[in-house]
């Protein structure tokens, strides 16, 4: 990017994500992740860190205002520059970009990005209420505010636009056609759920590793039709840190830094009801006629994700993400939004997401899923297990993706996971994607092996 300095990630650390960590408050969780990251770059001293960007999503969960100042304090970083970053579900992704900005601008040589969330302090359904406060409290929340309900509304329309109108166009009876299309989508979403849970078996930091079968994935309890339990991420406690450095100093601390090659960020209306029905902002390989008659984004796609990807690819010089990226860690708060995101970030065209999964493209080679996958390994998505299986301690999540991507690109998965099952051999370039609200804010960051 012109006029900007190159920024590298030089180290990272993650606590094991868990339902609850009653033995550690948020400061100690961040400290543990921080100490891990510092141990990995022994030449870096705390005194070399010039600033911090500290992220957590919810004051309600924390019940402690200025909690970021307490992290700064606990890590011994006073009196240096620091600020709190909050951006809903994309808090962690935005924190990485905030750290990138301070180094890219030349203000700092080394910046610590640290995030956490402590969601165990209330019961699950109170937690869901807190999260629903991140929807319009005049018009959305009082109707029965529940994020899984909002995502169910979105995927129902996605299924209508992209399965009902295509694969099930021949079914005359409207209700029957919609029902059959939803059953088909549910099967594909269960495949995503199987993929992420099975991948997580090899990730020691994950909260819900499981050898999940299709039968189990499809058979579990419905939460909001058609989304059932294994298709939805859960509440977690956890922390993650990423240390960013300028090109001038990065190689002093590690022989294997990872370049933050491009950043992108997009937004959309807070309320689902307000989403426009216009035309698709296209990648260069998409044609206008691919989307004739499609009213976009509606409630079926994430325009914020598309905008973030367009900017990030432009900045990173990527023209065909499916070919030029080796893996993606994306914000799969729901199996449905993982499929919607493939299309937003151009791993396939709009409408091709279900087929993309069915053909096996986002599955890893060398992992046994118990599924027939003719084209596995094209571009592994969520090799770590994603939010669905790793957990989603909101303020840490986007940073966790950054750390897993960093280790993939360093080729150091064996060292940090204790096994190399999830290591993508020769991975050169990866994408991390952080997503908030009902798709109201999204960040995309491209990372590249130096």
């Amino acid at each position: 990017m012109p006029g900007q300095r190159k920024v590298y990630m030089i180290s990272g650390g993650v606590t094991k994500f868990a339902k609850a960590h009653p033995d550690m408050d948020f400061r100690l969780m961040v400290k543990r992740a921080f100490d891990y990251a510092m141990k990995d770059v022994p030449d870096l001293k705390t005194s070399d860190i010039e600033s911090s960007r500290i992220s957590y999503f919810s004051d309600h969960f924390a019940r402690q205002l200025k909690a970021a100042s307490m992290v700064q304090d606990y890590l011994g970083l006073n009196p240096k520059d620091s600020r709190r970053i909050e951006w809903g579900g994309a808090t962690g992704g935005q924190a990485i970009q905030a750290g990138w900005e301070t180094v890219a601008s030349g203000r700092n040589e080394v910046c610590l990005v640290a995030g956490f969330e402590t969601m165990s302090h209330v019961e699950t359904w109170k937690g869901n209420e807190f999260i629903a406060l991140a929807s319009d409290t005049n018009f959305d929340y009082p109707v029965g505010g529940f994020y899984t309900g909002y995502y169910a509304l979105m995927v129902q329309r996605h299924i209508y636009e992209y399965l009902r109108k295509t694969k099930f166009a021949h079914v005359k009876d409207e209700r029957k056609a919609q029902r059959e299309a939803t059953q088909e989508a549910k099967r594909v979403m269960a495949m995503v759920s199987v993929k992420n849970h099975v991948n997580a078996n090899h990730n020691p930091y994950s909260q819900y590793p499981e050898k999940l079968s299709m039968k189990e994935a499809l058979g579990r309890e419905m939460v909001a039709y058609p989304l059932n339990r294994p298709m939805i991420c859960t509440m977690s406690d956890g922390a993650a840190v990423a240390i960013l450095a300028s090109e001038d100093v990065a190689f002093k601390y590690t022989d294997h830094p990872v370049l933050i090659k491009g950043v992108g960020c997009g937004t959309d209306t807070m309320r689902l009801a307000d989403r426009p029905h216009g035309s698709v902002p296209r990648f260069q390989w998409e044609k206008a006629e691919d989307y004739s008659g499609l009213r976009y984004p509606g409630v079926h796609s994430f325009r914020a994700g598309r905008a973030a990807a367009l900017e990030a690819y432009k900045n990173a010089g990527i023209s065909d993400p499916k070919k030029e990226l080796d893996f993606v860690e994306l914000h799969d708060a729901y199996a449905s939004s993982e499929i919607q995101t493939y299309e937003d970030i151009g791993l396939c065209r709009y409408g091709e997401g279900y087929d993309f999964v069915d053909q096996g493209h986002p599955f890893l080679e060398g992992i046994e899923y118990g599924l027939e996958l003719p084209h596995r390994g094209t571009i592994p998505v969520n090799p770590s297990g994603g939010l669905i299986a790793c957990g989603h301690p909101v303020g840490a999540t986007g940073i966790m993706q950054g750390v897993f991507a960093f280790w993939q690109l360093q080729g150091s998965i064996q060292k940090h996971f204790g096994n190399d099952e999830l290591q993508i051999k020769g991975a050169k370039r990866g994408l991390i994607h952080s997503h908030a609200g009902t798709g109201s804010s999204v960040t995309v960051t491209i990372m590249e092996r130096a």
Partner: protein, 177 residues
């Protein structure tokens, strides 16, 4: 204070804390953590401000949308300025009948609404209006609902001055299978 009870399962700790106010957690990492109940309740004095006519409209049995004075974009969920051109909007009355743009049945929900589960959510579209309205859809089971289904508004009496003062029901009786 009575002796604190100690538990190895955090779920039991939560139960005890809810009942007695405090408990000890025998953590597998080897620590003993003191866990207490810490209540928190707030009454906000909330003004609907520029959105007020919408909520007053519901109390009179009308759904009020807003239309941009400059570009005539029409909002089913009102806003006082247009998101496309920034001009002021004016109020208009939406039809009481619309169609389901999307729907779901929630079997769980946030704590406040958990006792109402299962309930249906629908995004409702109206003829000649550019945006949608989120509402509950009552009187229909999961098997009855579909995108495109005609629905009509029902208003709560007396009003609670919440967006839930309007909900929708199917315009036609669900067909028998």
């Amino acid at each position: 204070m009575a002796q604190l009870k100690k538990f190895a399962r955090f779920r039991d700790v939560m139960k005890e804390v809810n009942a007695k106010g405090a408990a000890l957690y025998k953590n597998p990492v080897g620590t003993e953590d003191l866990v207490i109940l810490s209540p928190y309740a707030i009454n906000y004095i909330h003004s609907y401000a520029e959105d007020s006519p919408f909520f007053l409209g519901l109390a009179e049995g009308k759904i009020m949308g807003s239309e941009c004075k400059a570009c005539h974009y029409r909002y089913a969920t009102p806003r006082s300025h247009c998101m496309n051109c920034g001009a002021e909007t004016e109020w208009f009355t939406l039809p009481n009948e619309g169609r389901v743009h999307s729907w779901t049945t929630c079997y769980y929900g946030g704590e406040e609404f958990l006792k109402e589960t299962p309930f249906n959510l629908a995004l409702v579209e109206f003829d000649g209006v550019d945006t949608l309205l989120l509402a509950r859809l009552k009187g229909a089971k999961e098997a009855d609902m579909f995108i495109g289904m005609k629905v009509k508004a029902v208003f709560r009496r007396p009003p609670r001055y919440l967006v839930s003062d309007v909900h929708f029901v199917p315009s036609e009786k669900p067909r028998k299978k």
